[in-house]
């Protein structure tokens, strides 16, 4: 009897975990604003915004196998488009963010076109240049972008809902906004990667030639992946501009692009949940490092830690945190059956960051 219960419980545990996640995550999300001080809420909102970029970048790098070292460029495009539209034209925040996402996606589509002919390293160089060029263009067009001093005093974000309008005034309001957008975009990303589009992305990542032979339209799917990940970065940029109430070109350095890359590498390439957890973890880590009492030179420490995370993850956890979770789960499942892993699990283990 006891034994029967134990096996039942073990078999049910993975599903139980999933159910618990569905119940616990919204509860935690809902409780945080009640207990956390404003600064923590701001930080969590920032982490959510970065997570949006990371999920988009994960679709591009982790699923489609196209490298980008310049996603801070798309983030900047989104932030500047939103800021300019609300500040100069007085457009509603929601409209501005949607336009920003579309503009960013359109530019992502254009950058995806040369990417059709480029393989890994060339693409990395080209996107690196893109990320460096955007802040420079912003400074150059200083008369309407505010130049190197940036744009400040953005109006409060607001969301018109039929008759009345929600205005996001406090850190708490903003936290709900960021969490809401993140949840919607996470679900959307999960749906995309499990759809036929997602399978086409993975096919391209694993072998372009094989994908083409199977009838996957490279032009369509590569540019789609670029546009999609730029859309995510653009929307996140719009949220970022309003979270900070102001932006300047210095917010969008190459280091930020590398931050985004580190988030998805740490979380695990080819996993939406990995990108999400990597983004949260890295944002909190960055903040924790600034608070260390012994370190007065935070910037250097952070840069070194970032570099170490990149190298050590690739060397020892090639599938990132998501890979660790996956192997633990499989070991668990294997123990329940008391035998070897199922075939589909072996296949799943073999998948991952196969960028060619």
């Amino acid at each position: 009897m006891v034994r029967w219960l134990r096996t039942r419980w073990r078999a049910a545990a993975p599903y139980g975990l999933g159910l618990a996640a569905v119940l616990v995550i919204p509860a935690v999300l809902g409780v945080i604003p009640g207990v956390a001080p404003g600064y923590i809420l701001y930080l969590v909102s920032l982490a959510f915004i970065y997570a949006i970029v990371a999920i988009g970048l994960g679709i591009l790098i982790g699923y489609t196998g196209q490298i980008s070292l310049g996603h801070a460029g798309f983030f900047a495009i989104g932030a500047y488009t939103t800021a300019l539209l609300t500040l100069r034209l007085g457009l509603p925040f929601v409209v501005a963010v949607l336009v920003a996402g579309s503009v960013s996606a359109a530019i992502g589509f254009l950058l995806g076109l040369p990417a059709l002919r480029l393989s890994g390293p060339y693409l990395a160089v080209a996107t690196l240049g893109f990320g460096l060029a955007i802040p420079q263009l912003v400074v150059w067009q200083g008369s309407w972008t505010g130049g190197s001093s940036g744009l400040h005093g953005l109006p409060l974000a607001s969301l018109p809902l039929g008759a009345f309008t929600i205005v996001f005034r406090t850190d708490q309001d903003y936290y709900y906004l960021a969490a809401g957008v993140l949840i919607v975009l996470t679900i959307f990303a999960r749906n995309v990667v499990t759809s036929h589009t997602g399978r086409a992305f993975v096919a391209i990542r694993d072998s372009e030639i094989a994908a083409r032979a199977m009838g996957v339209d490279l032009v369509r799917y590569k540019t789609t992946a670029f546009a999609l990940s730029a859309l995510y970065a653009g929307i996140a940029g719009g949220l970022y501009a309003h979270l900070l109430h102001g932006i300047s070109p210095e917010d969008f350095t190459v280091l930020l692009s590398v931050d985004f890359l580190t988030m998805i590498v740490l979380g695990g390439l080819g996993s939406v949940g990995g990108a999400l957890s990597g983004a949260l973890l890295l944002t909190f880590l960055q903040n924790a490092l600034t608070r260390l009492p012994v370190v007065h030179d935070f910037k250097n420490l952070y840069i070194v830690v970032l570099g170490a995370i990149l190298i050590l993850t690739i060397a020892f956890l090639p599938h990132g945190l998501a890979g660790v979770v996956r192997s633990v789960r499989q070991r668990w499942a294997a123990r329940v059956r008391g035998g070897a892993p199922r075939v589909d699990q072996i296949v799943e283990l073999g998948e991952g960051s196969g960028v060619r």
Binding site: I61, G65, I67, L69, L113, P114, R117, L118, S119, G120, P121, Y122, A124, V125, A126, L128, G129, F130, L132, A133, Q136, L137, V139, W140, E208, I209, A210, V254, V258, L261, V265, L269, D297, K299, N300, L301, Y302, I303, V304, L306, G307, A308, I309, L310, I311, I314, A315, P318, S353, G354, V355, R356
Partner: protein, 293 residues
């Protein structure tokens, strides 16, 4: 763009700057050809080596020529060490892994340099002092003359090395066909380390010669590395002469653009990269590699 620019002067300055880009680009291409890894740490290894040179020059008061050679040796060993300790352990079955790892390396070097030497902008001691040379209306500073001389000597030595020495030919064989080279008894590991060492030393030369023109701080090589990448891509990532040609071209464009629209120099480099990749993906002198199934 107006036509009454001081073309001669811009050309000379551009060629000097371009020689420096060419040296770094040469290093990138050399590492890429021998190890199939495109390094994003080239700028930072060069910056780190330049700080070593700075320490040799100021703390130890060594003469410039001695410090120059010692730093080149240091950079060579440093590059070989990076290959041995880090890159050899990384699976290169995907293109993404080496990109991520070299980006990580560049961050660690950046942070380490900031830690050791700090972020204040320093002036690097001038390697040569004296009145500039005049060629008609064009002024060639002693430093620019030194840059031309060093580049010329290095290129000649490297040309001879790859043409006549057994090791150089072995490196070319590895670049051509790794499996066949290995079957001929060439140690791939040793050639990889050598490629990294030589490539890193080339970057260090750029650092030591550009620091007196610009300044010395941990961020000094950021823009230079982008130009060198652009140069390598323009010339074709697989062609050493292409890297030199690309570097000189980039230097001239940079010099003219710096005169006209200084704030857009990185953007122009980026536009050039995209343009070349769209029109001629293999670069000016590169060979297009077809993927075999």
């Amino acid at each position: 763009m107006t036509l009454d620019l001081p073309w001669g002067q811009l050309l000379v300055n551009g060629l000097a700057l371009g020689s420096l880009y060419a040296l770094t680009a040469f290093g990138i291409v050399l590492i890429f050809k021998t190890t199939r890894v495109i390094t994003f740490a080239q700028g930072e290894t060069a910056m780190f080596s330049t700080f070593v040179a700075f320490t040799l020059l100021t703390a130890l008061q060594l003469p410039f020529a001695v410090a120059f050679v010692v730093t080149m040796l240091f950079a060579g060993l440093f590059g070989a060490l990076i290959e041995r300790v880090v890159l050899r352990r990384i699976s290169t079955t995907t293109v993404l892994n080496p990109v991520i790892v070299t980006v990580g390396l560049s961050l660690i070097l950046l942070g380490a340099a900031g830690w050791i030497w700090g972020y204040e902008i320093r002036t690097f001691p001038d390697p040569v002092v004296g009145p500039p040379f005049h060629l008609g209306t064009v002024v060639v500073s002693q430093l620019n003359a030194l840059i031309f001389l060093v580049t010329l000597v290095l290129m000649t030595v490297l040309f001879a090395f790859f043409r006549f020495s057994a090791t150089g030919i072995a490196m070319r064989a590895v670049a051509e066909n790794r499996v066949a080279a290995q079957l001929m008894g060439i140690s791939i590991g040793r050639m990889n380390a050598l490629g990294w060492g030589m490539g890193t030393a080339m970057g260090a030369v750029t650092g030591m010669l550009i620091a007196p023109i610009n300044y010395l701080d941990p961020g000094m090589m950021g823009d230079v590395a982008l130009k060198a990448f652009a140069a390598a891509v323009v010339g074709g990532l697989t062609s050493l002469p292409g890297a030199v040609l690309g570097g000189l071209l980039l230097g001239i464009i940079d010099s003219v653009a710096g005169f006209e629209v200084a704030e857009l120099r990185n953007t122009i480099a980026f536009a050039l990269i995209v343009l070349v990749l769209v029109v001629r993906p293999a670069g000016l002198l590169g060979r297009h590699e077809t993927k075999k199934v």
